[in-house]
Amino acid sequence: MPDNGEHVAERTAPGGVDTASPEETPVFSLRDVSVSYGDHLALAGVNMDVNAREVTAFIGPSGCGKSTLLRSLNRMNDLITGARVRGELLYKGADLYAPSVDAVQVRKRIGMVFQKPNPFPKSIYDNVAFGPRTVGMKGDMDGIVEKALRGAALWDEVSDRLRDNAYSLSGGQQQRLCIARAIAVEPDVILMDEPCSALDPVSTVRVEDLMAELKERYSIVIVTHNMHQAARVAERTAFFSVQVDDAGNRIGRLIEAGETGTIFTKPTDKRTEDYISGRVG
């Protein structure tokens, strides 16, 4: 496997639940994390690690807080008034929510791809160049754009029409453009919020193949409704569910997290088993 030798994805984690690979500190360490919107507690008591250079999938029924948690990882929740994150959320050992941390700097390292492709109404080139220009990357912009488009397996389809509007692309191409846009700034982590839910099956396969390539260089966290997708792309899977408390509030909980194979074949929690076997959700 061509690799610079610096990082080799640790794939042979011990069978235990939720331990980081021994060679690297986890990208994210979550200790008793909860997220609330105003008075409403959306997600509570999450403890887990996310490993570097792997795909981690968040699965679970609607309203279980998986997207909410994803958006806490790059402080996108800051944009929603009343959103509040409690607990300890460490990114490479540093508290993401420490008062001295600038959310803008966080997002330069931790990119995001959204459910609905959201290219800017600009040319394909300008879409990819937006991030590098924002973070002030120096050097050959044409080269940066080409590299990102190649990285997102889109270059061959658009190299002769970089000046065309991004909206002239198909939905699947737009989503890969958004991935190119995200990797153009060379982040550490890419968060993907149901990146294939608006795509046709062929485009979905292309994006999934892309994830397999991208995880050699980036850590990826993906929220998905599609359990098969989690099984196909993710090394580790975290299953979330909704608990209804005595007052009738619906609160998202992490039920279990671990290697994808274990979660799908030998889940330790009955709720995981029910969800995966299709009895609930």
Binding site: M76, T81, V104, F120, K122, V135, A182
Partner: protein, 319 residues
């Protein structure tokens, strides 16, 4: 043929609900359609009427005064014994007001719009937006008085070295008109910015863009057609504004002047000041107000056409 197909459809599975329909609702629909079409036609008719009412006195005017003398002459003194019909002085007066008003209202209006749309919390927006819309409704007479009795003397106290040669100032009138249209520019462009899909905003923030960068590089270009519309509306309002300039800019000087600090007349102020009860129909002076009105109308029309082109040229279409 038509009869038989009709019969076939009415003899369907459910005879109680014939497909052909009961005549009454059909006629009701037609009636509503006609009524709505008449309403739409009404505004078109009114516009046509306005244009026609301008056309005949204007033709009569140009029967007496050559077009070139009107458009190129630099002395505007239609009611003087030594009458002169060069429209340039009042065209320049209008331009000074429009440029000044835009120089005041566009920066302030757009900055307020960006603040309200991208920076302000929803609580602040809920208070400020309606307040802006109330400001839009302040009677222009009040603003004219404010400009004449407050702004103009204050300006002279602050900057005594400028040539304030009369109690009136076309420039100060322009500033007052600018203040008048700030709420309009702010409110219309804020609507345009708010209607940019949230996905674009999130996409830019997720790339580590600051608020200013998201506003200027993503929201502003995506909303540009609405923003141009806001500026055009503001410009039309500034061109057409009469009361403020009538009060604060004075009766002007018959000769062409570019003195921002002194008195000058605008096209609207001329029309407003002249079209009073004691003007007699059939005179040249009577016809001048229509000729000036027609010129005003053509200028606004040309501006609107240019603006439409601009919008098409710069529009960033999302989806």
């Amino acid at each position: 043929m038509a009869d038989s197909s009709m019969a076939a459809s009415t003899a369907g599975a459910n005879p109680r609900r014939p497909l052909a329909g009961a005549g009454t609702s059909h006629w009701g629909e037609k009636l509503i359609k006609v009524f709505l079409a008449l309403c739409a036609a009404f505004s078109v008719l009114v516009t046509t009427g306005i244009v026609l009412s301008l056309v005949f006195p204007t033709i009569s005017f140009f029967g007496q005064i050559p077009l070139a003398e009107f458009l190129l002459g630099t002395t505007w003194a239609p009611a003087f014994a030594q009458a002169s019909f060069g429209v340039l002085p009042i065209v320049v007066g209008t331009l000074i007001v429009v440029v000044t008003a835009l120089a005041v209202s566009v920066p302030i209006g757009l900055a307020s719009a960006i603040y309200l749309s991208e920076y302000a919390s929803s609580r602040v927006r809920k208070v400020v937006k309606p307040a802006l819309e109330v400001l839009e409704g302040i009677p222009t007479v009040a603003i004219g008085l404010f400009a004449f009795f407050f702004m103009r003397p204050l300006a002279e106290q602050l900057f005594p070295f400028f040539p304030w040669d009369t109690p009136f100032s076309i420039g100060i009138a322009g500033v007052a008109v600018g203040l008048l249209i700030v709420p309009l520019v702010a409110s219309v462009s804020e609507d345009a910015m708010r209607s940019v899909p949230a996905g674009l905003r999130e996409g830019a923030y997720a790339l580590g863009a600051s608020k200013m960068r998201v506003s200027m590089r993503v929201i502003f270009p995506a909303a540009i057609s609405g923003i141009i519309a806001a500026v055009v509306l503001g410009t039309s309002r500034a061109i057409g504004e009469t009361m403020v300039v009538l009060i604060a800019a004075g009766a002007g000087n018959p000769n062409l002047t570019f003195n921002w600090f002194g008195s000058a007349q605008t096209m609207t102020a001329y029309i407003g000041g002249t079209a009073t009860g004691d003007i007699s129909q059939g005179t040249v002076v009577y016809d001048t107000i229509f000729a000036v009105g027609a010129l005003l109308f053509s200028m606004t029309l040309v501006m609107n056409i240019i603006a439409t082109r601009l919008v098409r040229r710069f529009r960033e279409v999302y989806e």
